[in-house]
Every structure is written in C-alpha cells, then in structure tokens.
Symmetry: C2
Subunit: 155 residues, 2 copies
Amino acid sequence: MSKKIVNDTCPVARSLSVFGDTWSILILRDAHAGFTRFDQFRKRLNIAPTMLTKRLNDLVENGLLTKRRYSENPPREEYLLTQAGRDFLPILFVIADWGSKHVPHQNPDLMHQFYDDQQGTMIEPVVIDQQTGAKIGTRKISIHQGHYVQKLEKS
Amino acid sequence: MSKKIVNDTCPVARSLSVFGDTWSILILRDAHAGFTRFDQFRKRLNIAPTMLTKRLNDLVENGLLTKRRYSENPPREEYLLTQAGRDFLPILFVIADWGSKHVPHQNPDLMHQFYDDQQGTMIEPVVIDQQTGAKIGTRKISIHQGHYVQKLEKS
C-alpha cells in the first residue's frame, strides 16, 4: 500500500489502491470461476506473463489471493481466494449487472448469464441499504467526515 | 468501444472497457458528490490536465457523463451524470464497503462515512439477488452461456 493510500480517508480510493485496474479485476473474476493456476489465467486473459506475475503478486501482497504449493517436483503454485477475495464477489456482480444494462452485446444470447443454482432463476443483483431496506440511489445520502457533512446528488 | 470488447461475452469485461481504471472511477465518485467542472476534478484528484481531459472525454463518449455549456463567454463546459452514470452509484457503494472492511484506516474516525439523510443511520450496503432475496455469495451460482454451464466457487 503506497503512503498516499495509507492516509486516504475515502474508502473507494482505498479499495482502488488494491484492485483498481482491469487485469486485477479480471483475475479475481476468473478466481471466482474456480481457476487457480498461472497458465489458466494467462490463457483465459491473454495477458503477458510478466504482467500476470506482477498482478498476482500484488493481489497476494494485498491479501486477496493466497499462494499454495500444489506440486513439489516441479515446484508449482496455485492462487486461492482469501476471505477478502471472496468478499469481492458482490462487486463483480454489480459490475456485471451494469455492463449487461449499459454495454449490451448485439446478440444478448451469447452473453454469460448467472443463475441461482438451486432455484434456477437468473440472478438479479441489487444493492440495498440493510438499515432502511431501500435500494442505493433511491433516498438522499449524506457524506460525513468528522464535523464535515456533504449531501450526495440523488440518482 | 474497442473491437475486442464489442465481441466480449462477459458483462464484467464489457463494463471494465468503459470504466476499468482508477481515474475514471474516482471521477465518477466526485461527479456523484456533486462536482461538475474540470477544475474541480483536477484539484480534488490532483490529476494531470491531459489525463483528466482524456478520461472525461472517454466517459462522455461511453455515455456516463454528458457535457453542458454553462458559459458562452468565455466558453466553459460542465460534466453531468447520465442515467448510466447515475446507475454507477451502487458500484461505488460496494467498492467503498469492501475498502472499509479490508483496507481499514489506522484512524477509522477520519474515514468518510455515508448516512441515510432522512433516517440518520449509517448506510450498510449489501448486494442481494432480487429473485431469492439471498445475499450474493451465500448460495451456489452457475454461469450459463448457450449450452455451456459452469458452477461458481461458493464464497
């Protein structure tokens, strides 16, 4: 974590300091889909090996992935999601939901779709405030920092 | 939108093609906090003007912001959220929530906090599946693409 981020008081900026680029998010997506090995990530993402090494090391250092040796000879390691990495799943779902709505494919039938495995219904992710039960964006929100209060624009 | 993305069938990747970098997300954050002008973004983000110009133009081109002239002489424009940009708010909240939990500040009192303005309670964002009412990550999910089905790792 850079010194700038150590002092940053915005939780969005703090998050982005550990996964704020496309490669990191796509690696986390594939880790959630069950992939664990360097070569799997490399082939799926078509990413340069040096870049992939750096991103995986950063995700390990920042606590989203953990390395586990699965073969001693030859030495081989796999990358598993930590609790922080597993907690990234809801972020993936809201990003996916936004993309389905606002960057639609010309042939929607080709798109990846997500289903509740037991009930068989398509997942419809929505972000609510647990306290009020209201969808985020439907009620006025204020930002507090010490004595400083600011109103958020309403959606 | 690049040709690669036009054909990409993953909604996460499609989203990231339009906001997959830290600057774009921080600009959207500040737009939601009510800032609209080039100089406001530049000062708050401490971003190089050429980089800011590029990111703002990309966000306009991709339909998250719209430009409006607010002064004719001298000519000055401001940047307003579109519906797609307003729909980004839940993403900001889940990113913020992850950061509060997993990249904690050494002095949590200094952090920005978000309150429901009417009820006065702190916002606790949670992502649920509207169909089942379950939190994302608590039930098994499968990915479908045509005839291809894959199970997601459970959190």
